[in-house]
Symmetry: C2
Subunit: 254 residues, 2 copies
């Protein structure tokens, strides 16, 4: 028997059709596993497998004790490098994340949950061109929209830059944001590199960002450079791919 003719695959395909043709609307509940099994003369586990296939593709989402629902089209935040713009920062008085979420008509919140002095992980030491034993300040941040966790960011900066300033000591950065404080310390961000990848969330991310089955994360390793093109800061962002995306506009070099 070919794989496409298997009962679980046939049921999955039938449900997939119902979703793509709109017979099953976004947000609508699917028949229960027991109903599907009875209707197709199969064991409940077989119907269950079909549903799992759809969930792994991000088409449906099962909710324990409630039912299985067609996933609604996500409202995606598009974060771009303009989030570092000084003009934006000064005109709105908002941090760039807040500005972006507000644009979408949602309520942004963010919190810095820890500040520590640490030996940096390899990817950070490499990008900051640090000596083997040089230490860094590590700031961990969580970002929400309408109370839902959307994004996680961990920033590393050399102790030599942050020591004694709000960068090393305060979870509340006051007017503007992180990049305003870097500018105060003599490091105006003028150039940035962003390395983008996607993967499935690990255990911690699945819990911390409450990510359902079938939703990947986008990871951005961001490096900030000063006007002399020296790196002074590395941030690793992880964001739910069903809630956030990226937007880059730039001139093409000759």
């Amino acid at each position: 028997m070919k794989s496409a003719e298997l009962p679980s695959r046939l049921l999955a395909e039938q449900l997939r059709q119902a979703i793509s043709t709109g017979t099953l609307q976004p947000g609508q509940q699917l028949p229960t596993e027991r109903e599907l099994a009875a209707a197709h003369g199969m064991a409940r586990n077989t119907a269950r497998v079909a549903i799992r296939l759809l969930a792994e593709q991000g088409l449906v989402q099962a909710e324990h004790g409630r039912g299985v629902f067609v996933r609604t089209a996500p409202r995606v935040l598009r974060l771009g490098p303009y989030r570092y713009s000084r003009t934006l920062r000064e005109q709105t008085g908002l941090s760039p994340y807040h500005a972006e979420v507000r644009k979408q008509g949602r309520i942004p919140t963010a919190a810095c949950t820890s500040i520590e002095e640490v030996t940096p992980p390899g990817y950070v030491a490499e990008r900051l061109a640090l000596d083997a034993r040089e230490r860094t300040i590590r700031r961990e941040n969580w970002y929400y929209a309408d109370g839902e966790p959307i994004q996680h960011g961990v920033t590393f900066l050399p102790v030599s830059i942050g020591a004694g300033s709000a960068l090393a000591e305060s979870t509340d950065l006051g007017e503007g944001d992180l990049y305003a404080r870097f500018a105060d310390a003599g490091y105006a961000i003028s150039f940035t590199r962003e390395e983008v990848s996607a993967r499935m969330p690990d255990q911690l991310e699945t819990e911390g960002l409450a990510i359902p089955l079938g939703v990947p994360v986008l990871q951005v390793i961001h490096t900030g450079f000063d006007p002399d093109h020296r790196p002074f800061e590395v941030t690793r962002f992880v964001m739910r791919a069903d809630s956030a995306g990226l937007d880059y506009s730039m001139a093409v070099d000759d």
Copy 2:
């Protein structure tokens, strides 16, 4: 019983530990489902569920008839906007994708599998600012490294730009690449916008790119602009996230 104490979760966690500590090396085969079940006094299906959890996270990959293997750290291509650079194009004589794959010591191949005149999808009409009934040329491309499919791209351009040229008629674009031919037609790419998102692959992509469970795709909607900042081309790239990533460097606007 808490979810973390369930037999399948416990086994999954134990295997996860073995992988992260290196007890199970990348590429190494896990014990068979039957062995795991016997060793832990559980039904084979329970061991199977544990393995599926790991596969969904991209940690292991099952191969029918062979076994389950720890996934090897991917060799990621980093595609950046320098792929549109005229200098690179002229110096190497290679298309930008080829140049990038060669850099990684792999053998690139690419093929244009279809050229058609079509009514464009909404996302294209919008970005090219087309009239409702204006038609476009659609070019479909597949990209490989060492014979493995890595990336898929579909380019749309207004018929008015491509008509009569290689852009509309030839799957072999000769010296340089697509952007060399656009330049010939009077549209030198000088500015680009790239909208990046990630998601799980759909049916076609899973088959076409041979994507295993637990691997998402990166999607880039790329818009090319001429020196007068008029859009002349939209390409939608879909790439395996375990094989390709993106790399953007840019100045920060004031």
